[in-house]
Chain length 310, copies 2
């Protein structure tokens, strides 16, 4: 039940020969969720060996082309692959219209349904997707156009069942074990009732991944990153270009690190680099002065939420 974060594109608005347009995949048990869908993302899914058929949701941060122009192609490919399962597409107001006006993607033209979750211009927090094992929540960010960030949050896992202790109490049926892990008391053949807390430890907290781009440092970003196992935060510029960052609604590397520190995140991945930086080395160095556990996101590298060291 490992949850893995896979950056697919770490470029800013302009792709480079080395960096693809923005997208990050989260994979869990073969199923996946996308955050942003820059042009070319469907080929990046192939490169990451993620199955488009197992895609559950696409969460778009904002309607600038570099974050969304891969969506029409991906959705068309799902049609060609004869998908019938529901897909969730979340994003700011207008994402449904953008999809619907592309040829072949209107309602009735696709073999599968889309549930659009359009977030209003002003809101506090919204649950975008509630699955058995995780949920995705959104909060507003601070960019030049309406923008939202996301947090992928595993639900707490059942505690550890102490089989020896269970046996000592007379519980030997595996169906009883399963019920107790699910939090239920069981009644034994002799009439005794064994409550789950007698043999099951406390729930294990789940991991969490925050995706915060494009934005200036803001409360929404900090709230999404609160004690996150892994925070992906944009660092478009070095801090010497802070005026430009403000004018464009972006963050500097130092500011990304300040968000990570303020939120108590455990690990920071920087991304969305301006094309002027051939390598992200200077951006990482700047951020580490504020938040040591910082790296540049590496495209197609797999970051396991379980293995993040704080």
């Amino acid at each position: 039940m490992t949850t893995t974060v896979i950056p697919l594109g770490t470029a800013g608005a302009l792709p480079t020969r080395d960096r693809h347009l923005p997208a990050v995949a989260v994979e869990r048990e073969g199923a996946s969720v996308l955050f942003d869908c820059g042009e070319g993302t469907q080929r990046r899914l192939l490169a990451a060996e993620l199955k488009p058929s197992r895609l559950q949701a696409v969460c778009i941060t904002h309607l600038h082309g570099d974050h969304v122009f891969g969506l029409p192609g991906l959705l068309s490919t799902l049609s060609l692959l004869d998908r019938t399962a529901l897909l969730v597409v979340a994003g700011p107001q207008g994402v449904a219209r953008l999809v619907g006006c592309m040829p072949g993607l209107g309602e009735g033209e696709r073999p599968y349904p889309i549930r659009f979750v359009e977030l209003p211009d002003a809101f506090d927090e919204a649950v975008v997707l509630e699955a058995d094992a995780y949920r995705i929540v959104a909060r507003p960010l601070a960019h030049r156009v309406p923008a939202v960030g996301y947090r992928f949050e595993e639900k707490p896992r059942p505690g550890h069942l102490d089989v020896e202790r269970a046996r000592a109490l007379g519980v030997t049926d595996y169906r009883h074990y399963r019920a107790m892990k699910a939090g239920e008391a069981v009644t034994l053949p002799d009439g005794r009732v064994v409550p789950p807390e007698a043999v099951v430890g406390p729930p294990q907290p789940g991991g969490s991944f925050a995706y915060v781009t494009d934005t200036m440092p803001c409360d929404g970003g900090i709230a999404l990153a609160r004690e996150a196992t892994l925070l992906y935060h944009e660092a478009t510029f070095l801090h010497d270009l802070r005026e430009l960052a403000v004018a464009r609604g972006h963050s500097t590397a130092r500011e990304a690190a300040e968000v990570a520190r303020a939120a108590g995140a455990r690990r920071l991945l920087l991304g969305h680099f301006s094309a002027r930086y051939r390598t992200p080395d200077a951006l990482v160095a700047e951020a580490r002065q504020v938040f040591q556990n910082t790296e540049a996101a590496v495209e197609l590298k797999r970051y396991d939420l379980e293995k993040v060291e704080g």
Copy 2:
């Protein structure tokens, strides 16, 4: 003045790990023209070391996503690069609407003008772009939706000037040479008039490139390919899947070769391969039984129109 054809994507509707979505560039003196613009084409221009700023025109065959979903991203990038020069965008009816409904690409949102050339559903031949040294013409193809093919045609080049013969006639001024190459008679200081044909040979025919996809074999495709130096023709399927090809409005490799033979083209490049074919070897072998000078288009390889051997 070499004209070079550079396939950027040879996939059919579904990209593969090895093949990108449809696009072919034609480069001449640093300027370029695109035929189709599948998702990811802007990064393919980078890979081919073509400058987006020198792009003159984008000619779209039809409005299926695999041929056009790279257009919004490319046009947005031209905005980010502060383009001010006119761009020609040609395609079937609807291409202007597709561009205009994408965020940031409406009239007044771009720093550069676009001249849309929308081709009607029924027409014979249309000139899409008339430049000094070449023209691009369009003709209708036969697909499931309105589709057009294109021909990039160099204009005849001035004939060879015989400098020795010119000197013997008393013509020694280089400005006179230039005028005579441009077809003008010159008057010498002694009053004699020398007509250009006295020293300049016949015009050299220009090269031509035909781009014919997506289509079943059809008259429009044959007309575009008439004595073409280089023909790029789709070969989505092997001929054993001809029924499927007809149902989908595509050509088989054998049919592509039959078009090349009927048109008297000099060289055939196959492309738009179905994802079911891991390599194009079988498609090429099938086509060569009908038209020997056939190859599979190789992405990023440069095909010089001058060096094509018939």
